[in-house]
Each structure stands twice: as C-alpha cells, then as structure tokens.
C-alpha cells in the first residue's frame, strides 16, 4: 500500500506517494532524481549509499522511507550552496581523490559528517569513520590527503 511520505531533502520539503517500506535510496534516486547515493550492496556493508541525516552519515539502502520522515536529509548534491562546493568536495577535486567515482558520494558524505562533528579529527577518528566506505579502485590514500587538507585548514 502506498501513502504520502514527507521528506526534507537538501533544504526543500518533498512529498512522495510510495510504499512506506521502500528503501530510502530508491526514493531519493528514482522519485527525486538525486543520483549521488549509489546502490552498492543493499546491506550496509559498502557505504556508497550514504547521505547526511540530521548531520549524521546514514545508509539509505536498508532504511524504509517512512523512517526518514521528519529528518533533515542532505545528499552530495545538497552540499553545493549557491553554486559553491563544500570544502570537502573541493578537497576531493584538489587531491584528485577518485577513479571511477562510484564510492565518492559515500566518501564525501562520511567525511563531512565526521568533520562537522570533529573539525580537528584525529587519524584514529578518520580511520574509524572512513572504514565504513569501500573503494575498489584503491583511492584511500588520496581520500586521506583530501580529508587532512580540510581538517588541517580548520586548525587554529
């Protein structure tokens, strides 16, 4: 059975008419045309489907859309404000921290959530957070450089 579900995504109120059990990823991608969360495993193992929910990086591949009601969702697209990239997005470009880019959204979202909470995140905190996101191309050291670029800049 479908019902109307209200979502707050990238600063806008959205309403979709879907089965409330639908995993959030399909609603974001197919109903709202937000392509950045990617289907990778469907079981919270790879992190390519991450979005920010109330500032925390969350998997969208298993979360029923009904659970996302009333929460503030931000996707990779929503990190761009007035045409200006988020510092973490810019750092990924500056460090050329991608190959195929399928994991990049999950990487940037996870890094943003971490750095918002811990602007001076330690190596250990970065390792713990970023290990939720798999990259098969082997760009981990570039991702590390991109993150330390942002973390370093914010240090006093």
């Amino acid at each position: 059975m479908t019902r109307k579900v209200r979502l707050h995504v990238n600063g806008q109120e959205q309403q979709v008419d879907v089965d409330p059990r639908t995993p959030l990823i399909y609603v974001l991608r197919n109903d709202l045309a937000l392509n950045s969360p990617k289907y990778g495993c469907g079981q919270r193992q790879c992190g390519s489907c991450m979005v920010l929910m109330d500032g925390v990086a969350e998997y969208t591949c298993t979360m029923p859309v009904a659970q996302a009601e009333g929460r503030k969702i931000v996707t990779l697209e929503g990190l761009v404000r007035d045409g200006r990239l988020h510092p973490v997005q810019q750092a990924f470009i500056d460090e050329q921290a991608a190959q195929c880019g399928y994991c990049t959204s999950g990487m940037i979202i996870t890094a943003v959530a971490l750095l918002d909470k811990h602007p001076h995140a330690t190596e250990a905190q970065v390792r713990e957070a970023m290990s939720k996101v798999l990259c098969r191309c082997g760009t981990y050291s570039r991702v590390a450089r991109a993150i330390s670029r942002v973390a370093r800049r914010e240090q006093p």
């Binding site: 059975m1 479908t2 879907v18 089965d19 639908t22 995993p23 399909y26 991608r29 197919n30 045309a33 937000l34 392509n35 950045s36 990617k38 289907y39 990778g40 495993c41 469907g42 079981q43 193992q45 790879c46 390519s48 996707t75 990779l76 697209e77 990190l79 761009v80 990239l85 997005q89 810019q90 990924f92 470009i93 050329q96 991608a98 190959q99 195929c100 880019g101 399928y102 994991c103 990049t104 959204s105 940037i108 390792r127 713990e128 970023m130 290990s131 996101v133 798999l134 990259c135 098969r136 191309c137 082997g138 760009t139 981990y140 050291s141 570039r142 991702v143 590390a144």
Partner: protein, 744 residues
C-alpha cells in the same frame, strides 16, 4: 531525464559549422590501433576530432572511460597537437553510432592505440585549419602561430580563430598521415598533470553513470539467476509474484527468469519472492575447496613451452645451490563496487543498449548473434559505470536487459544486478599454480631457471559470441561454463625480464572450476608474484641483497632505473636497521615485457602476538615512457598497489560442493580504509619514448613486495595467496605448502 549521449552521426550533420577529421575505413593507422580494430563500422569516415563552431573541440574515442582517466589523457593529447586549452575539450566515449570500433578497452593499450590515432587526427586537423587560415591571411602555414585556437601571422596583427574559420562550413577530411607531429620538447599540455575532466562532476553529484539513466517510460527489472552454475528451472509460482504491486510481467525462457515492475523496489521485492519460491534441479558439481590446488594440478592439460633458451642441463650441472618452490593463487573477484547495470530498449525492430561494457562494438555483435539481428538494428552506447578492472558482469547484464526488453513492449528496461549476483556470477580471475626451480653458481648467479605454470583460462569475453553471455546460455539451457578454457592470457609476464643464460618456461591449462575471464593484468599478477618472490628466495640462498640480486641480473637500463629509484626513495639501506618484526620487500616487472616498468617496495610489520600482517607503506617507481598526465599515471599506479594489496592479503573466492559461497563483502572482504597503507609514487618521465599504459603495471610487483617484506619481517616465506596471518590457522590449505622449502 539524464541521458546525455543520444546524438547519432546523422544528427551531427544537422548542426552549424564543423570540421571532422578521421580515418577512412581500410586506411592503415598505427600497428597498435590496427590490431585493436576488428572492422564492423560503416560510413566513409570515422571522425576522431571535431572542431565545433561553438568554440569547443570534441574527441571521439572508441575506448571506454572506466575510471582510469582515459578521457582526460586523450583530451590532453588532442589539445597538445591542436594548441587549444583543456577547457575547450569534450570527449565522447565508445558508441557504435558515433565512434570508431576500437574493440575492448583492455590490456592498458588505450593511450597507445586510441592515443596515437587521436594524435594524428589532431595534427591533421591543425594542418587543415592552418591551410584555411593561410588562404585568408595570405600567409604560408609555417608563418602562422596558434594560441588556444587563435591563429596569428607571425610579426603581424592579423588573427582568426579555428571557429571563425569554420563559419557555417561543414568539412569532413581524412587523415593523410602527412601532418607533422609535435616534438616532445614542444609539449605544453602533454607531460603535465591535468585535473581529470570528470572529477568535478563526480565530487558534486552531477556525474551520470549507467546506473543513473532514467529514460521516459522506463521500467525496472531484476533477474533471478539459478542457484548453481548448472541448475535447471523446474517450477515457478507466478501467482505469488503477480500479487506484488507494480509487477508488469515475469519473463521466463528456459532457465532464464526475470521480473519486470514499474518501480525498482517492486522489482527487487518480486525477484526475492521468485527466488524463494522457484524450484530448481541442482546437483553437486564443484571440487572440495580445500582440494582446489590438487584439483587444478590433477586436471592440468599438456605442458607447452612458452620460452626456452640456453642449455638447461649445463646450467643445472653448474649449479652449486638448487632452490624449488611453488606458489598458489586462488580465484579472485573483480569486485566492482556498483553491481553491473544496463538499460535496453527494443522498439520498432531496433535494439538500443546503454552499457558500461569494456567493448560496445563486440557487445553489439554479441547481441546481433543472440537475437539474430542485422548489424544496423543494434546500437550499443557506452556510458560510464562503476570501475570494472576487466571483464565483470557488464556484458551479461547488457544481454539480460536486451532479452527482457523484448518483452517490455517498447519501453526502456533498466536492470541492475544485486550484490550477490555480482559476487557469485561474475567471471573471476582464475586460480593458478606456479612452480619454480632455480640454480645458483658459487658467485650467486642464476644459471638455471625452470618455470611451470598451471592456469585456468583468462579469456572468455563474448566478442560476438552469444554463448559467452549468461542470458543466452540460460535461456537456451546450455550446460557447463563459457569460455574455451586453456591457459589463455595466463602466460602474461611468465617470462622474466632478467638475463638467465639457461631457462625454460612451460604452461598448461586445466579444467575449469568456476566461471573465469579477464581480470586486471590476466596472468601477470600471479606470475610476477611468483617470479619476484622466487628471486628473493634465490637472493636469500645466495646471501645477496634482493635489490643487488635483481640489478645484477638486468641489462635493461630503464628496468634498473625504476629499481634504483624506488630503493633510494625508501632508503633501502635502512633494511638492516628496522625495528624487530618490521620488513622491507621489493618486487619488479615490466608489464607484458614491453609496457610500463614498475618497481614496488612494501614496508610491513608482523604483529608478534596475532601474527597479522600490517601494511605500513607501499612505494612505487614507474616508467611508462612519454608521460601524458603524471598525476593520472600516479593515480593508476597507486590504485593498482592498493587493489593488489587487497588481493594479496585478503581475497579468495570460496565455494562449497554446489556454489560460490562468497555472496557479499563479509564473505569476501576487501581492503578497507583503516587497513590501507600510505602510498608514494615516483614517475620517471621519458620524453620521446613510446607512451604506454600503466593501469596494470603495479599489481604483480606489489604482491611480491608484500610477501618479500613479510619474509624480511618474520623469516617466514608465505607462498599461498592470500598471505597470512603468518602462522596459518588450522584447516588453511596453505599450511603444508608454506612449510619452508629450504635450499637443497
């Protein structure tokens, strides 16, 4: 609607002015690209470079962007010869209606083959434009200079741009091969790091992958693959599925089973019900996993010589010390992060497939064969996907989508595999056994070298053969595994670059266990792993430093240079002063013995209690000839090292009597961020030397470097992949084999 790539060649003729330059069918290009081309394209001319009246330049390549950065490298090559800025460059990747047929994007040859065609076409384009400008400005072409597409007469103030020259003219020209190419010392774009053209879109969420295509009226489908390679479909409870909201139809042809629905989650849910309720006839067909290597060895075919030289008997007679060892490589996954996906539409007798295949043209021929369609009724449009690292599920899902689209009444159908589909059905990199025997004389020279390879096949790309794609096999009830078997590309890099006076290299195929095909580097990874580990074993037996041992057996100066560069970068001499349980190890190869030279040093620590191997740093030095994009090259070498570290330390495809049991990332763990080492890449540029691909160069050297570093750290020689922990757990098939094989 996010499809950016539906222009046909005919449509292009409708625009305003342009100059298109390409190769006429049948005209000799370069040897490398000629070998890549396998005919099948029509028309008078295949444009490679198009100067557009809007101030942009389009490069049309028959290769695919796979995350390796080929679009950017090819744009740099064209921008260089044309003297235009990178901002003006646009790149169209393989599309059977728009680009030349360059076969598969594989074996690290795109820079070499596509790059040399683009370079010639761009030089030709520049010459044509200079001739046109010369007429307007009343000057000989050699009196003209070009800066970002603006032509000026030397010593004068007259100027005209490429785009002004064109106006409304529509010009098509052929490459004559007469246009002068720039000399390396004139390069301003090639050889400098250029940011990847696609990374800004990737980082901001604007990039469009095949997974992201949404065509008007598109529906979603999921395939329900058989539970085993050989299972036969007996019964399906169609009624149970029809009750799922949104289900449009069930497609059942032979053992091919799929469901089409309005929405993606509906297709996923319906497929799960089908999976749970379908009845399949299945039987045990696989050997015991613990006996994998015995199985491969027992079923080995005839040994055939790969290379022989010198007098092996004399070599053994001169040997003061003999060493023997065997190395084992299990089946490995490509493990694409995004499961394979395709969109297909069958409308008015015309089939169009959007695919991340490595070979849109071969896939088109495969689909023509599968549906008995003429060549002009099928179009395959290349769209970027998740990194593939070789032949993954891309072609299969393209065939899945095409088959289902025939039942979708003209609507586009999007099919994406599940994680378990990708893990259990992709064609793996095959198991291999490498047995080496070496003899050293009293001075530590290698005087005898014997190499015996047993390998399952590395090449089962469809290439026009419908029997190689799952959808066709399953719908027609075919048994067994696709691919001819045999060694195939297994012998790649089985011949060391070292100078051994007496040697013999033999190879044999074996009976196929799992579905296999081409994985990054084919046999090169395991061959280099074995050769380079064995070089260390010989060095240890001769009590010679591993770096000195290698340099002493090499004549090729470029080979020596990468080894010396990496040794210097890591301060190799600190090898003897490292903390206890730490070690440095080196590995080296020249990919395919004619492409990139690469030497890697690994620094590891072996935990004294858990015996776990911890990677501290991987450092590489690479020489890929004339470098196009140094940072792009470094990214490939670096990514190769990290992926190889994952293969080397963590990966093996396991199975039970019936099926592959690795269905997700917990069953088949790969390297995560917290296990990934620091990396460093030293790029040795060789202006004027042939530019060669580097995407597969670091895999083998890295594997060996890690094993050699583990030996340096722990004194234990691990020969069965994946390595470690150093003290193998009970039940590990590597235990017996990893018992030290002492010099005898």
């Amino acid at each position: 609607m996010t499809n950016q790539n539906t222009t046909s060649r005919r449509d292009l003729l409708k625009g305003s002015g342009f100059l298109a330059v390409g190769f006429c069918l049948g005209l000799p290009i370069t040897a490398a690209s000629a070998a890549e081309r396998r005919g099948g394209r029509g028309g008078n001319i295949d444009a490679w470079i198009r100067i557009n009246a809007d101030g942009t330049v389009t490069v049309l390549t028959g290769k695919m962007e796979l995350g390796q950065g080929i679009k950017t490298a090819l744009a740099q090559i064209a921008a260089e010869e044309l003297d235009v800025s990178m901002e003006r460059m646009r790149v169209v990747i393989a599309d059977t209606e728009q680009t030349a047929d360059e076969g598969y994007t594989a074996a690290s040859v795109s820079v070499e083959s596509s790059g040399s065609s683009i370079r010639q076409a761009a030089a030709e384009t520049r010459q044509i434009l200079l001739q046109l400008a010369g007429e307007k400005l009343a000057a000989a072409p050699d009196q003209l200079d070009v800066t970002d597409g603006v032509i000026t007469r030397r010593g004068g103030d007259q100027r005209i741009s490429y785009w002004e020259l064109l106006g409304d003219q529509r010009i098509q020209r052929q490459v004559t091969g007469q246009a002068p190419l720039k000399r390396p010392e004139q390069y301003r774009v090639v050889g400098k790091s250029a940011g990847r053209l696609d990374i800004p879109d990737i980082a901001s969420g604007k990039a469009v992958y095949v997974q992201d295509l949404r065509l008007p009226g598109m529906v979603h489908a999921r395939v329900v693959r058989p539970p085993t390679y050989e299972a036969v479909l007996r019964e399906v409870d169609e009624e149970a599925v029809k009750e799922v909201a949104g289900v449009i139809r069930i497609v059942r042809e032979g053992n091919f089973l799929a469901v089409v629905a309005q929405r993606e989650e509906q297709a996923v849910w319906a497929a799960e019900i089908l999976r749970q309720t379908a009845t399949w006839e299945q039987a045990d067909s696989l050997p015991k996993y613990e006996e994998l290597y015995e199985h491969l060895r027992r079923n080995a075919g005839e040994r055939r010589p790969v290379q022989q030289g010198g007098d092996l008997n004399a070599g053994w007679a001169a040997a003061a010390v003999r060493v023997e060892a065997a190395y084992f490589r299990p089946y490995h996954m490509h493990g694409s992060l995004g499961p394979s996906c395709a969109v297909a539409q069958f409308k008015e007798g015309q089939l169009t497939v959007w695919s991340h295949t490595q070979g849109p043209f071969p896939l088109k021929r495969t689909l023509c064969a599968m549906f008995n369609l003429p060549q002009d009724k099928v179009r395959v449009i290349g769209v970027v996907g998740s990194g593939c690292y070789g032949h993954n599920g891309a072609d299969d899902v393209g065939a899945d989508a095409a088959l289902i689209a025939r039942w979708a009444e003209g609507r586009p159908v999007r099919v994406q595999w599940s994680r378990a589909d990708e893990h259990t059905w992709e064609p793996y990199g095959p198991g291999m056994i490498m047995t080496l025997r070496g003899g050293l004389d009293g001075t530590g020279r290698i005087v005898a070298w014997e190499y015996d390879l047993i390998s399952d096949g590395h090449g089962a790309r469809p290439g026009g053969n419908a029997d190689a794609v799952l959808a066709h096999r399953h719908r027609s009830g075919m048994k067994g595994l696709p691919g001819a078997g045999g060694v195939g590309g297994g012998t790649r890099n089985s011949e060391p670059l070292y100078n051994f006076s007496n040697g013999r290299i033999m190879a044999a195929g074996t009976r196929r266990v799992l579905r296999t095909s081409s994985l990054r580097g084919l046999g090169a990874y395991a061959n280099v792993f074995a050769i380079e580990c064995f070089m260390d074993e010989l060095a240890a037996a001769a009590r010679i430093d591993p770096v000195a041992m290698r340099l002493g057996h090499l004549a090729d100066e470029r080979a020596k240079a990468v080894i010396q560069a990496v040794a210097q970068a890591v301060s190799w001499e600190r090898r003897d002063k490292l903390p206890v349980n730490h070690g440095l190890g080196i590995g080296f190869a020249r990919y395919k013995n004619y492409a990139t030279y690469c030497a890697v040093v690994a620094e590891v620590a072996v935990d004294p209690v858990s015996r776990e191997i911890r990677l501290i740093k991987l450092t590489a030095a690479a020489d890929a000839g004339q470098v196009i994009n140094p940072d792009g090259l470094a990214n490939q070498i670096e990514g190769g090292m990290i992926q190889s570290a994952s293969w080397t330390l963590k990966e093996q495809v396991k199975f039970d009597a019936r099926r592959v049991t690795c269905r997700d990332w917990e069953d088949y763990p790969i390297l995560r961020y917290d296990q990934s080492p620091a990396t460093q890449v030293i790029v040795l540029n060789r202006p004027g030397e042939r530019a060669v691909g580097a995407g597969e160069a670091s895999m083998g050297p890295t594997g060996a470097a890690i094993a050699n570093a583990v030996f340096a750290a722990s004194g234990k020689r691990l020969r069965t992949l994946p390595l470690g922990p150093v003290a193998a757990a009970a039940g590990d098939p590597s235990i017996a084999r990893d018992a030290d094989v002492a010099p005898r």
